[in-house]
Protein backbone atom coordinates (compact mmCIF):
# COMPACT_ATOMS: atom_id res chain seq x y z
CA UNK A 1 0.00 0.00 0.00
CA UNK A 2 1.28 3.37 -0.98
CA UNK A 3 1.16 5.37 2.22
CA UNK A 4 1.77 8.70 0.60
CA UNK A 5 -1.03 8.15 -1.82
CA UNK A 6 -3.35 6.95 0.86
CA UNK A 7 -3.08 9.90 3.14
CA UNK A 8 -2.92 12.62 0.58
CA UNK A 9 0.27 14.55 0.35
CA UNK A 10 0.65 17.74 2.31
CA UNK A 11 -2.32 17.05 4.53
CA UNK A 12 -2.14 13.77 6.35
CA UNK A 13 -5.18 14.55 8.48
CA UNK A 14 -7.42 15.10 5.46
CA UNK A 15 -9.70 12.25 6.42
CA UNK A 16 -10.44 13.61 9.86
CA UNK A 17 -11.18 17.19 8.93
CA UNK A 18 -14.83 16.52 8.43
CA UNK A 19 -15.42 15.70 12.06
CA UNK A 20 -14.38 19.21 13.12
CA UNK A 21 -15.90 20.82 16.21
CA UNK A 22 -18.55 23.08 14.81
CA UNK A 23 -19.53 21.19 11.73
CA UNK A 24 -23.18 21.60 10.91
CA UNK A 25 -23.22 18.46 8.81
CA UNK A 26 -22.22 14.85 9.14
CA UNK A 27 -21.22 12.29 6.61
CA UNK A 28 -22.79 8.90 6.33
CA UNK A 29 -20.85 5.76 7.10
CA UNK A 30 -18.16 4.93 4.60
CA UNK A 31 -19.05 1.94 2.50
CA UNK A 32 -16.69 -0.93 2.09
CA UNK A 33 -14.54 -0.58 -0.97
CA UNK A 34 -10.93 -0.58 -1.93
CA UNK A 35 -9.06 0.55 1.18
CA UNK A 36 -7.92 3.62 -0.62
CA UNK A 37 -6.02 4.97 -3.52
CA UNK A 38 -4.08 2.19 -5.21
CA UNK A 39 -1.32 2.71 -7.81
CA UNK A 40 -3.19 0.77 -10.41
CA UNK A 41 -4.34 2.56 -13.56
CA UNK A 42 -8.10 2.78 -14.13
CA UNK A 43 -8.09 5.21 -17.05
CA UNK A 44 -5.26 4.99 -19.54
CA UNK A 45 -4.82 7.88 -21.92
CA UNK A 46 -2.44 7.43 -24.86
CA UNK A 47 -1.46 10.05 -27.46
CA UNK A 48 -4.78 11.78 -27.00
CA UNK A 49 -5.40 14.91 -29.05
CA UNK A 50 -8.58 16.97 -29.31
CA UNK A 51 -9.55 19.44 -32.03
CA UNK A 52 -12.26 22.08 -32.24
CA UNK A 53 -12.76 22.41 -35.98
CA UNK A 54 -9.24 22.93 -37.26
CA UNK A 55 -7.86 24.20 -33.95
CA UNK A 56 -5.87 21.89 -31.72
CA UNK A 57 -7.07 22.17 -28.12
CA UNK A 58 -5.14 19.25 -26.64
CA UNK A 59 -1.96 17.90 -28.15
CA UNK A 60 -0.76 14.38 -27.61
CA UNK A 61 -1.64 13.74 -23.97
CA UNK A 62 -0.62 10.46 -22.34
CA UNK A 63 -1.21 9.68 -18.69
CA UNK A 64 -2.71 7.18 -16.28
CA UNK A 65 -5.46 7.96 -13.79
CA UNK A 66 -5.11 5.72 -10.75
CA UNK A 67 -7.97 3.82 -9.19
CA UNK A 68 -9.46 5.38 -6.08
CA UNK A 69 -7.09 8.35 -6.16
CA UNK A 70 -7.72 12.03 -6.57
CA UNK A 71 -5.93 13.48 -9.57
CA UNK A 72 -5.79 17.26 -9.89
CA UNK A 73 -5.52 18.93 -13.27
CA UNK A 74 -3.78 22.26 -12.85
CA UNK A 75 -2.58 24.94 -15.21
CA UNK A 76 -3.57 28.36 -16.55
CA UNK A 77 -6.94 29.12 -18.15
CA UNK A 78 -7.35 27.92 -21.72
CA UNK A 79 -4.84 25.10 -21.44
CA UNK A 80 -7.43 22.42 -22.13
CA UNK A 81 -8.08 21.03 -18.63
CA UNK A 82 -11.84 21.23 -18.97
CA UNK A 83 -11.70 19.86 -22.53
CA UNK A 84 -9.70 16.92 -21.22
CA UNK A 85 -12.21 16.37 -18.42
CA UNK A 86 -15.21 16.52 -20.76
CA UNK A 87 -13.67 14.09 -23.20
CA UNK A 88 -13.55 11.44 -20.47
CA UNK A 89 -17.37 11.28 -20.32
CA UNK A 90 -17.67 12.40 -23.94
CA UNK A 91 -19.59 15.59 -23.20
CA UNK A 92 -17.35 16.91 -25.96
CA UNK A 93 -19.66 15.07 -28.35
CA UNK A 94 -22.14 17.90 -27.79
CA UNK A 95 -19.76 20.45 -29.28
CA UNK A 96 -20.16 20.72 -33.06
CA UNK A 97 -16.92 20.22 -34.98
CA UNK A 98 -15.10 18.52 -32.12
CA UNK A 99 -12.90 15.55 -33.05
CA UNK A 100 -10.23 13.43 -31.39
CA UNK A 101 -7.29 11.20 -32.13
CA UNK A 102 -5.54 8.76 -29.84
CA UNK A 103 -6.91 6.39 -27.22
CA UNK A 104 -8.62 6.65 -23.88
CA UNK A 105 -9.48 3.43 -22.04
CA UNK A 106 -11.38 2.65 -18.85
CA UNK A 107 -10.07 -0.77 -17.83
CA UNK A 108 -10.32 -2.47 -21.20
CA UNK A 109 -13.09 -0.50 -22.87
CA UNK A 110 -12.37 2.24 -25.34
CA UNK A 111 -14.20 5.42 -24.29
CA UNK A 112 -14.25 6.90 -27.77
CA UNK A 113 -14.84 3.60 -29.56
CA UNK A 114 -17.79 3.31 -31.91
CA UNK A 115 -19.42 0.58 -29.81
CA UNK A 116 -19.46 2.59 -26.57
CA UNK A 117 -22.90 2.99 -24.99
CA UNK A 118 -22.87 6.68 -24.06
CA UNK A 119 -25.54 6.37 -21.41
CA UNK A 120 -23.81 3.46 -19.71
CA UNK A 121 -20.49 5.31 -19.92
CA UNK A 122 -21.91 8.45 -18.33
CA UNK A 123 -23.62 6.41 -15.67
CA UNK A 124 -20.19 5.10 -14.72
CA UNK A 125 -18.66 8.58 -14.79
CA UNK A 126 -20.37 11.25 -12.71
CA UNK A 127 -19.64 14.90 -13.36
CA UNK A 128 -19.86 18.04 -11.24
CA UNK A 129 -19.68 21.43 -12.90
CA UNK A 130 -18.20 24.73 -11.85
CA UNK A 131 -21.54 26.46 -11.39
CA UNK A 132 -23.88 24.52 -9.11
CA UNK A 133 -26.75 23.74 -11.45
CA UNK A 134 -29.43 21.58 -9.88
CA UNK A 135 -32.53 21.20 -12.03
CA UNK A 136 -35.31 23.68 -11.16
CA UNK A 137 -37.29 20.94 -9.40
CA UNK A 138 -37.53 19.69 -5.85
CA UNK A 139 -34.49 18.31 -4.04
CA UNK A 140 -36.01 14.84 -4.20
CA UNK A 141 -36.86 15.08 -7.88
CA UNK A 142 -33.30 16.19 -8.72
CA UNK A 143 -31.95 12.82 -7.64
CA UNK A 144 -35.01 10.79 -8.57
CA UNK A 145 -34.95 11.88 -12.21
CA UNK A 146 -31.62 10.26 -13.19
CA UNK A 147 -32.44 7.18 -11.08
CA UNK A 148 -35.72 6.80 -12.91
CA UNK A 149 -34.02 7.20 -16.28
CA UNK A 150 -31.62 4.42 -15.40
CA UNK A 151 -34.39 2.01 -14.53
CA UNK A 152 -34.59 2.35 -10.76
CA UNK A 153 -38.32 2.79 -10.41
CA UNK A 154 -39.43 1.21 -7.13
CA UNK A 155 -40.19 3.89 -4.63
CA UNK A 156 -38.46 2.18 -1.69
CA UNK A 157 -35.28 1.74 -3.75
CA UNK A 158 -35.29 5.36 -4.80
CA UNK A 159 -35.96 6.60 -1.26
CA UNK A 160 -33.13 4.49 0.12
CA UNK A 161 -30.63 5.70 -2.46
CA UNK A 162 -31.68 9.33 -2.08
CA UNK A 163 -31.25 9.17 1.70
CA UNK A 164 -27.87 7.43 1.37
CA UNK A 165 -26.37 9.90 -1.10
CA UNK A 166 -27.72 12.91 0.76
CA UNK A 167 -26.07 11.51 3.90
CA UNK A 168 -22.88 10.95 1.94
CA UNK A 169 -22.66 14.60 1.00
CA UNK A 170 -23.74 15.75 4.47
CA UNK A 171 -26.97 17.28 3.26
CA UNK A 172 -29.47 14.86 4.82
CA UNK A 173 -29.77 16.58 8.19
CA UNK A 174 -30.12 19.95 6.51
CA UNK A 175 -32.84 19.02 4.02
CA UNK A 176 -34.64 15.91 5.26
CA UNK A 177 -37.65 17.99 6.30
CA UNK A 178 -37.93 19.76 2.97
CA UNK A 179 -37.05 17.19 0.36
CA UNK A 180 -39.96 18.36 -1.73
CA UNK A 181 -39.14 22.05 -1.74
CA UNK A 182 -37.26 23.59 -4.65
CA UNK A 183 -33.57 22.81 -5.01
CA UNK A 184 -33.07 26.43 -6.08
CA UNK A 185 -33.95 27.55 -2.53
CA UNK A 186 -30.72 25.96 -1.25
CA UNK A 187 -27.54 27.98 -0.76
CA UNK A 188 -24.78 27.75 -3.35
CA UNK A 189 -22.74 25.29 -1.33
CA UNK A 190 -25.78 23.13 -0.63
CA UNK A 191 -26.69 23.19 -4.32
CA UNK A 192 -23.20 22.00 -5.22
CA UNK A 193 -23.41 19.18 -2.66
CA UNK A 194 -26.81 18.24 -4.11
CA UNK A 195 -25.19 18.05 -7.55
CA UNK A 196 -22.50 15.78 -6.12
CA UNK A 197 -25.21 13.64 -4.48
CA UNK A 198 -27.04 13.47 -7.80
CA UNK A 199 -23.90 12.19 -9.48
CA UNK A 200 -23.25 9.68 -6.67
CA UNK A 201 -26.80 8.31 -6.87
CA UNK A 202 -25.96 6.44 -10.07
CA UNK A 203 -23.14 4.70 -8.22
CA UNK A 204 -20.39 5.79 -10.59
CA UNK A 205 -16.82 4.53 -10.56
CA UNK A 206 -15.33 7.86 -11.53
CA UNK A 207 -16.15 11.45 -10.60
CA UNK A 208 -15.13 14.36 -12.79
CA UNK A 209 -15.10 17.73 -11.07
CA UNK A 210 -14.68 20.94 -12.99
CA UNK A 211 -13.62 23.61 -10.47
CA UNK A 212 -16.35 22.48 -8.07
CA UNK A 213 -15.49 25.09 -5.45
CA UNK A 214 -14.69 28.16 -7.50
CA UNK A 215 -18.22 29.56 -7.50
CA UNK A 216 -18.61 29.08 -3.72
CA UNK A 217 -17.74 31.24 -0.74
CA UNK A 218 -14.73 30.12 1.35
CA UNK A 219 -16.76 28.28 4.00
CA UNK A 220 -18.95 26.39 1.52
CA UNK A 221 -15.82 25.74 -0.49
CA UNK A 222 -14.15 24.20 2.55
CA UNK A 223 -17.14 21.95 3.17
CA UNK A 224 -17.13 20.70 -0.42
CA UNK A 225 -13.36 20.22 -0.30
CA UNK A 226 -13.63 18.10 2.84
CA UNK A 227 -16.33 16.10 1.13
CA UNK A 228 -14.08 15.45 -1.87
CA UNK A 229 -11.33 14.21 0.44
CA UNK A 230 -13.82 11.86 2.06
CA UNK A 231 -14.79 10.40 -1.29
CA UNK A 232 -11.21 9.28 -1.94
CA UNK A 233 -10.94 5.53 -2.26
CA UNK A 234 -14.61 4.98 -2.96
CA UNK A 235 -14.39 6.86 -6.23
CA UNK A 236 -11.66 7.72 -8.67
CA UNK A 237 -11.73 11.49 -8.80
CA UNK A 238 -10.33 13.87 -11.38
CA UNK A 239 -10.59 17.49 -10.34
CA UNK A 240 -9.81 20.64 -12.31
CA UNK A 241 -8.83 23.47 -10.02
CA UNK A 242 -7.18 26.87 -10.19
CA UNK A 243 -6.70 26.81 -6.46
CA UNK A 244 -3.21 25.38 -6.06
CA UNK A 245 -3.49 25.18 -2.29
CA UNK A 246 -6.63 23.13 -2.71
CA UNK A 247 -4.98 20.83 -5.25
CA UNK A 248 -2.16 20.33 -2.78
CA UNK A 249 -4.52 19.55 0.06
CA UNK A 250 -6.81 17.07 -1.64
CA UNK A 251 -4.95 15.46 -4.53
CA UNK A 252 -2.75 12.37 -4.68
CA UNK A 253 -1.56 13.05 -8.18
CA UNK A 254 -1.25 16.25 -10.15
CA UNK A 255 -1.14 16.84 -13.87
CA UNK A 256 0.20 20.18 -15.01
CA UNK A 257 -1.06 21.50 -18.37
CA UNK A 258 0.37 24.41 -20.29
CA UNK A 259 -0.41 26.12 -23.57
CA UNK A 260 2.26 25.81 -26.25
CA UNK A 261 1.68 26.86 -29.85
CA UNK A 262 -2.00 27.54 -28.98
CA UNK A 263 -2.55 23.92 -27.95
CA UNK A 264 -2.86 22.46 -24.46
CA UNK A 265 -0.06 20.06 -23.54
CA UNK A 266 0.71 17.94 -20.51
CA UNK A 267 3.96 19.26 -19.09
CA UNK A 268 4.31 17.16 -15.99
CA UNK A 269 2.45 14.40 -14.22
CA UNK A 270 3.35 12.83 -10.92
CA UNK A 271 2.65 12.49 -7.23
CA UNK A 272 1.15 15.68 -5.96
CA UNK A 273 3.97 16.30 -3.49
CA UNK A 274 6.60 15.76 -6.14
CA UNK A 275 4.91 18.12 -8.61
CA UNK A 276 4.62 20.82 -5.98
CA UNK A 277 7.85 20.35 -4.07
CA UNK A 278 10.34 19.10 -6.59
CA UNK A 279 8.93 19.70 -10.05
CA UNK A 280 10.97 18.23 -12.87
CA UNK A 281 10.10 20.90 -15.37
CA UNK A 282 10.96 24.57 -14.97
CA UNK A 283 7.51 25.69 -16.22
CA UNK A 284 5.90 23.63 -13.47
CA UNK A 285 8.21 25.14 -10.91
CA UNK A 286 7.39 28.65 -12.11
CA UNK A 287 3.67 27.94 -12.07
CA UNK A 288 3.38 26.27 -8.67
CA UNK A 289 5.55 28.97 -7.13
CA UNK A 290 3.34 31.64 -8.61
CA UNK A 291 5.98 33.04 -10.96
CA UNK A 292 4.10 32.14 -14.14
CA UNK A 293 0.46 31.70 -15.18
Amino acid sequence: MNVRGRRGPGKPEADQVVAGENNSYTLGPMQAGPACCAPQPLIRVRNFSLFYGGRTALDNISLDIYRGCITALIGPSGCGKTSFLSSINRLTDLIPGCSITGRMHIDDSDIHGPATDLQALRRQIGMVFQKPSPFPFSIYRNIELPLHEHGIKRREDKDAIIQRVLQDVGLWNEVQDRLHSSALSLSGGQQQRLCIARALALDPQILLMDEPCSALDPIASGVVEDLISRLRGRYTIIIVTHNLAQARRVANYAAFFWVKDHAGRLVEFGHCRQVFESPAHELTAAYVNGARG
Binding site: L121, K131, S133, F135, A199
Partner: protein, 290 residues
Protein backbone atom coordinates in the same frame (compact mmCIF):
# COMPACT_ATOMS: atom_id res chain seq x y z
CA UNK B 1 -19.63 77.83 -4.46
CA UNK B 2 -23.14 78.86 -5.41
CA UNK B 3 -22.25 78.50 -9.04
CA UNK B 4 -20.94 75.03 -8.41
CA UNK B 5 -24.07 73.90 -6.60
CA UNK B 6 -26.22 75.29 -9.37
CA UNK B 7 -24.30 73.38 -12.00
CA UNK B 8 -24.79 69.95 -10.46
CA UNK B 9 -28.39 70.15 -9.40
CA UNK B 10 -29.92 72.24 -12.14
CA UNK B 11 -33.57 71.17 -12.28
CA UNK B 12 -34.39 73.39 -15.25
CA UNK B 13 -35.84 71.92 -18.43
CA UNK B 14 -33.02 69.67 -19.48
CA UNK B 15 -33.25 67.26 -22.41
CA UNK B 16 -33.88 64.44 -19.94
CA UNK B 17 -36.89 66.12 -18.37
CA UNK B 18 -38.37 66.86 -21.76
CA UNK B 19 -37.85 63.28 -22.86
CA UNK B 20 -39.41 62.00 -19.63
CA UNK B 21 -42.58 64.03 -20.24
CA UNK B 22 -42.76 62.95 -23.87
CA UNK B 23 -42.51 59.31 -22.85
CA UNK B 24 -45.06 59.81 -20.10
CA UNK B 25 -47.44 61.31 -22.64
CA UNK B 26 -46.92 58.46 -25.08
CA UNK B 27 -47.50 55.86 -22.36
CA UNK B 28 -50.57 57.79 -21.21
CA UNK B 29 -52.06 57.77 -24.71
CA UNK B 30 -51.52 54.03 -25.09
CA UNK B 31 -53.06 53.25 -21.71
CA UNK B 32 -56.02 55.57 -22.13
CA UNK B 33 -56.80 54.10 -25.56
CA UNK B 34 -57.45 50.71 -23.99
CA UNK B 35 -59.61 52.27 -21.31
CA UNK B 36 -61.45 54.38 -23.87
CA UNK B 37 -62.27 51.34 -26.00
CA UNK B 38 -63.54 49.49 -22.97
CA UNK B 39 -65.56 52.51 -21.91
CA UNK B 40 -66.97 52.85 -25.43
CA UNK B 41 -68.05 49.20 -25.49
CA UNK B 42 -69.72 49.49 -22.10
CA UNK B 43 -71.40 52.80 -22.98
CA UNK B 44 -72.81 51.47 -26.23
CA UNK B 45 -74.12 48.27 -24.71
CA UNK B 46 -75.35 49.93 -21.51
CA UNK B 47 -78.95 50.74 -22.58
CA UNK B 48 -79.62 47.11 -23.50
CA UNK B 49 -77.62 45.69 -20.60
CA UNK B 50 -79.64 47.67 -18.08
CA UNK B 51 -83.07 47.48 -19.70
CA UNK B 52 -83.81 43.81 -19.26
CA UNK B 53 -82.45 42.54 -16.00
CA UNK B 54 -80.94 40.24 -15.05
CA UNK B 55 -78.10 40.32 -17.57
CA UNK B 56 -78.26 36.53 -17.82
CA UNK B 57 -81.01 36.86 -20.42
CA UNK B 58 -78.16 37.09 -22.96
CA UNK B 59 -77.63 33.38 -22.47
CA UNK B 60 -81.19 32.32 -21.62
CA UNK B 61 -83.22 34.00 -24.38
CA UNK B 62 -84.93 31.57 -26.72
CA UNK B 63 -82.75 32.44 -29.72
CA UNK B 64 -80.78 35.13 -31.55
CA UNK B 65 -83.49 37.08 -33.33
CA UNK B 66 -82.65 40.75 -32.80
CA UNK B 67 -85.69 41.95 -34.72
CA UNK B 68 -87.89 40.10 -32.23
CA UNK B 69 -85.95 41.24 -29.19
CA UNK B 70 -84.32 37.85 -28.55
CA UNK B 71 -80.61 38.17 -27.87
CA UNK B 72 -79.21 34.75 -26.97
CA UNK B 73 -75.42 34.95 -27.34
CA UNK B 74 -74.81 31.44 -25.96
CA UNK B 75 -74.58 29.64 -29.34
CA UNK B 76 -72.00 32.15 -30.53
CA UNK B 77 -70.08 31.95 -27.27
CA UNK B 78 -69.98 28.18 -27.62
CA UNK B 79 -69.04 28.58 -31.29
CA UNK B 80 -66.12 30.80 -30.33
CA UNK B 81 -64.93 28.47 -27.57
CA UNK B 82 -65.29 25.29 -29.68
CA UNK B 83 -63.35 26.76 -32.59
CA UNK B 84 -60.60 28.23 -30.43
CA UNK B 85 -60.42 25.21 -28.13
CA UNK B 86 -60.28 22.75 -31.02
CA UNK B 87 -57.56 24.78 -32.71
CA UNK B 88 -55.49 24.83 -29.51
CA UNK B 89 -55.95 21.11 -29.04
CA UNK B 90 -54.46 20.50 -32.49
CA UNK B 91 -51.89 23.31 -32.53
CA UNK B 92 -50.40 22.65 -29.07
CA UNK B 93 -48.86 19.23 -29.77
CA UNK B 94 -47.87 20.27 -33.30
CA UNK B 95 -46.36 23.55 -32.17
CA UNK B 96 -44.47 22.08 -29.23
CA UNK B 97 -43.16 19.25 -31.40
CA UNK B 98 -42.00 21.78 -33.99
CA UNK B 99 -40.30 23.84 -31.29
CA UNK B 100 -38.54 20.74 -29.91
CA UNK B 101 -37.42 19.84 -33.42
CA UNK B 102 -35.99 23.32 -34.06
CA UNK B 103 -34.32 23.55 -30.67
CA UNK B 104 -32.85 20.11 -30.10
CA UNK B 105 -33.05 17.87 -33.14
CA UNK B 106 -32.71 19.75 -36.42
CA UNK B 107 -29.26 20.42 -37.87
CA UNK B 108 -28.45 24.12 -37.23
CA UNK B 109 -28.99 25.24 -40.85
CA UNK B 110 -32.22 23.32 -41.23
CA UNK B 111 -33.49 24.65 -37.91
CA UNK B 112 -32.85 28.22 -38.99
CA UNK B 113 -34.63 27.78 -42.33
CA UNK B 114 -37.55 26.05 -40.64
CA UNK B 115 -37.85 28.79 -38.03
CA UNK B 116 -37.94 31.45 -40.77
CA UNK B 117 -40.67 29.50 -42.51
CA UNK B 118 -42.72 29.46 -39.32
CA UNK B 119 -42.19 33.20 -38.89
CA UNK B 120 -43.44 33.68 -42.43
CA UNK B 121 -46.50 31.61 -41.57
CA UNK B 122 -47.18 34.05 -38.73
CA UNK B 123 -47.05 36.97 -41.14
CA UNK B 124 -49.66 35.74 -43.65
CA UNK B 125 -52.75 38.01 -43.50
CA UNK B 126 -55.77 36.28 -42.02
CA UNK B 127 -57.93 36.94 -45.07
CA UNK B 128 -55.50 34.83 -47.13
CA UNK B 129 -55.99 31.93 -44.70
CA UNK B 130 -59.73 32.46 -45.04
CA UNK B 131 -59.53 32.54 -48.80
CA UNK B 132 -57.55 29.32 -48.88
CA UNK B 133 -59.99 27.73 -46.45
CA UNK B 134 -62.97 28.79 -48.52
CA UNK B 135 -61.65 27.60 -51.85
CA UNK B 136 -59.72 24.49 -50.81
CA UNK B 137 -60.61 23.27 -47.36
CA UNK B 138 -64.39 23.74 -47.45
CA UNK B 139 -64.85 21.82 -50.75
CA UNK B 140 -62.67 19.03 -49.36
CA UNK B 141 -64.77 18.76 -46.20
CA UNK B 142 -67.89 18.99 -48.34
CA UNK B 143 -66.83 15.77 -50.07
CA UNK B 144 -66.60 14.09 -46.67
CA UNK B 145 -69.88 15.49 -45.40
CA UNK B 146 -71.84 18.47 -46.73
CA UNK B 147 -72.12 21.40 -46.35
CA UNK B 148 -68.37 21.77 -45.84
CA UNK B 149 -68.58 25.16 -44.13
CA UNK B 150 -68.30 23.91 -40.59
CA UNK B 151 -66.77 23.99 -37.15
CA UNK B 152 -64.07 21.63 -38.48
CA UNK B 153 -63.10 24.07 -41.23
CA UNK B 154 -62.89 26.84 -38.63
CA UNK B 155 -60.75 24.70 -36.33
CA UNK B 156 -58.34 23.74 -39.10
CA UNK B 157 -57.88 27.29 -40.35
CA UNK B 158 -57.41 28.59 -36.81
CA UNK B 159 -54.92 25.79 -36.13
CA UNK B 160 -52.76 27.02 -38.99
CA UNK B 161 -53.06 30.58 -37.74
CA UNK B 162 -52.04 29.94 -34.11
CA UNK B 163 -49.43 27.27 -34.88
CA UNK B 164 -46.65 29.83 -35.51
CA UNK B 165 -47.43 31.66 -32.24
CA UNK B 166 -47.24 28.45 -30.23
CA UNK B 167 -44.12 27.22 -32.05
CA UNK B 168 -42.21 30.49 -31.70
CA UNK B 169 -43.10 31.10 -28.04
CA UNK B 170 -42.31 27.49 -27.13
CA UNK B 171 -39.01 27.76 -29.01
CA UNK B 172 -38.17 30.96 -27.13
CA UNK B 173 -39.02 29.26 -23.82
CA UNK B 174 -36.86 26.22 -24.65
CA UNK B 175 -33.90 28.34 -25.77
CA UNK B 176 -34.12 30.18 -22.44
CA UNK B 177 -33.55 26.94 -20.49
CA UNK B 178 -29.98 27.28 -19.15
CA UNK B 179 -27.41 25.15 -20.96
CA UNK B 180 -26.19 24.01 -17.53
CA UNK B 181 -29.38 21.98 -17.08
CA UNK B 182 -28.93 20.26 -20.41
CA UNK B 183 -25.25 19.46 -19.86
CA UNK B 184 -26.12 18.26 -16.36
CA UNK B 185 -28.76 15.93 -17.78
CA UNK B 186 -26.40 14.54 -20.41
CA UNK B 187 -23.65 14.09 -17.84
CA UNK B 188 -26.10 11.97 -15.83
CA UNK B 189 -26.36 9.61 -18.80
CA UNK B 190 -29.82 10.73 -19.87
CA UNK B 191 -30.74 10.27 -23.51
CA UNK B 192 -31.74 13.28 -25.57
CA UNK B 193 -35.41 12.41 -25.33
CA UNK B 194 -35.15 11.81 -21.57
CA UNK B 195 -33.45 15.20 -21.23
CA UNK B 196 -36.22 16.87 -23.27
CA UNK B 197 -39.00 15.13 -21.36
CA UNK B 198 -37.47 15.21 -17.89
CA UNK B 199 -35.67 18.56 -17.85
CA UNK B 200 -36.21 20.89 -20.82
CA UNK B 201 -40.01 20.71 -21.09
CA UNK B 202 -40.68 21.03 -17.33
CA UNK B 203 -38.20 23.90 -17.08
CA UNK B 204 -39.84 25.70 -20.02
CA UNK B 205 -43.40 24.85 -18.91
CA UNK B 206 -44.42 28.35 -17.85
CA UNK B 207 -43.28 29.97 -21.08
CA UNK B 208 -45.00 27.34 -23.18
CA UNK B 209 -48.30 27.70 -21.33
CA UNK B 210 -48.11 31.51 -21.56
CA UNK B 211 -47.56 31.19 -25.32
CA UNK B 212 -50.56 28.89 -25.64
CA UNK B 213 -52.73 31.40 -23.80
CA UNK B 214 -51.62 34.19 -26.13
CA UNK B 215 -52.49 31.91 -29.04
CA UNK B 216 -55.91 31.28 -27.49
CA UNK B 217 -56.42 35.04 -27.36
CA UNK B 218 -55.68 35.25 -31.05
CA UNK B 219 -57.98 32.33 -31.89
CA UNK B 220 -60.87 33.79 -29.88
CA UNK B 221 -60.61 37.16 -31.59
CA UNK B 222 -59.98 35.99 -35.15
CA UNK B 223 -62.79 37.22 -37.39
CA UNK B 224 -62.27 37.21 -41.14
CA UNK B 225 -60.82 33.75 -41.75
CA UNK B 226 -63.32 32.11 -39.44
CA UNK B 227 -66.24 34.01 -40.94
CA UNK B 228 -65.25 32.75 -44.40
CA UNK B 229 -65.27 29.04 -43.54
CA UNK B 230 -67.68 28.30 -40.69
CA UNK B 231 -71.03 28.85 -42.41
CA UNK B 232 -72.21 31.37 -39.79
CA UNK B 233 -75.42 29.60 -38.79
CA UNK B 234 -76.38 30.64 -35.26
CA UNK B 235 -76.59 27.29 -33.49
CA UNK B 236 -74.80 25.11 -31.00
CA UNK B 237 -72.69 22.93 -33.28
CA UNK B 238 -73.68 19.31 -32.61
CA UNK B 239 -70.62 17.92 -34.36
CA UNK B 240 -67.49 18.84 -36.23
CA UNK B 241 -69.30 18.99 -39.58
CA UNK B 242 -72.04 21.39 -38.41
CA UNK B 243 -71.86 25.06 -39.34
CA UNK B 244 -71.63 27.59 -36.51
CA UNK B 245 -71.00 31.28 -35.86
CA UNK B 246 -68.45 32.96 -33.57
CA UNK B 247 -68.92 36.19 -31.59
CA UNK B 248 -66.39 38.04 -33.72
CA UNK B 249 -68.03 36.90 -36.96
CA UNK B 250 -71.42 37.93 -35.57
CA UNK B 251 -70.26 41.53 -35.16
CA UNK B 252 -68.68 41.68 -38.61
CA UNK B 253 -71.72 40.14 -40.28
CA UNK B 254 -74.49 42.22 -38.70
CA UNK B 255 -72.90 45.56 -37.88
CA UNK B 256 -73.48 47.05 -41.36
CA UNK B 257 -77.27 47.03 -40.96
CA UNK B 258 -77.89 46.85 -37.21
CA UNK B 259 -79.77 49.72 -35.52
CA UNK B 260 -80.80 50.59 -31.94
CA UNK B 261 -81.15 47.52 -29.66
CA UNK B 262 -79.74 45.16 -32.26
CA UNK B 263 -76.69 47.43 -32.51
CA UNK B 264 -76.36 47.50 -28.72
CA UNK B 265 -76.57 43.70 -28.67
CA UNK B 266 -73.60 43.54 -31.04
CA UNK B 267 -71.68 45.76 -28.64
CA UNK B 268 -72.52 43.27 -25.90
CA UNK B 269 -70.94 40.60 -28.17
CA UNK B 270 -67.88 42.80 -28.47
CA UNK B 271 -67.75 43.39 -24.72
CA UNK B 272 -68.01 39.63 -24.08
CA UNK B 273 -65.17 39.00 -26.50
CA UNK B 274 -63.04 41.69 -24.90
CA UNK B 275 -63.62 40.28 -21.41
CA UNK B 276 -62.71 36.79 -22.65
CA UNK B 277 -59.45 38.04 -24.15
CA UNK B 278 -58.64 40.12 -21.05
CA UNK B 279 -59.17 37.05 -18.91
CA UNK B 280 -56.77 35.05 -21.10
CA UNK B 281 -54.13 37.78 -21.15
CA UNK B 282 -54.17 38.28 -17.41
CA UNK B 283 -53.77 34.51 -17.02
CA UNK B 284 -50.80 34.67 -19.40
CA UNK B 285 -49.29 37.56 -17.45
CA UNK B 286 -49.61 35.59 -14.21
CA UNK B 287 -47.95 32.59 -15.87
CA UNK B 288 -45.12 34.80 -17.11
CA UNK B 289 -44.44 35.96 -13.57
CA UNK B 290 -44.79 32.51 -12.00
Amino acid sequence: MIWLRHSISSPSASADTLMLWLLRAAAGVAASLVLLILFFLVAESWPLLMRDLPITHFVTDSSWHPDEGAYNLAPMLSGTLYAAGGALLLAMPLGIASALFITYYAPPRGADAYRRLVELLAGIPSVVYGFWGLTTLVPLINQLQPPGSSLLAGILVLTLMVLPTITLTAHAALVAVPGDYLRGAFALGMSRWAMVRGVALPAARMGIVAGAILAAGRAVGETMAVLMVTGNVVQHAGGLFDPERTLAANIALEMPYAVSDHRAALFVSGLTLMLLVMLLWSAAARMGRG
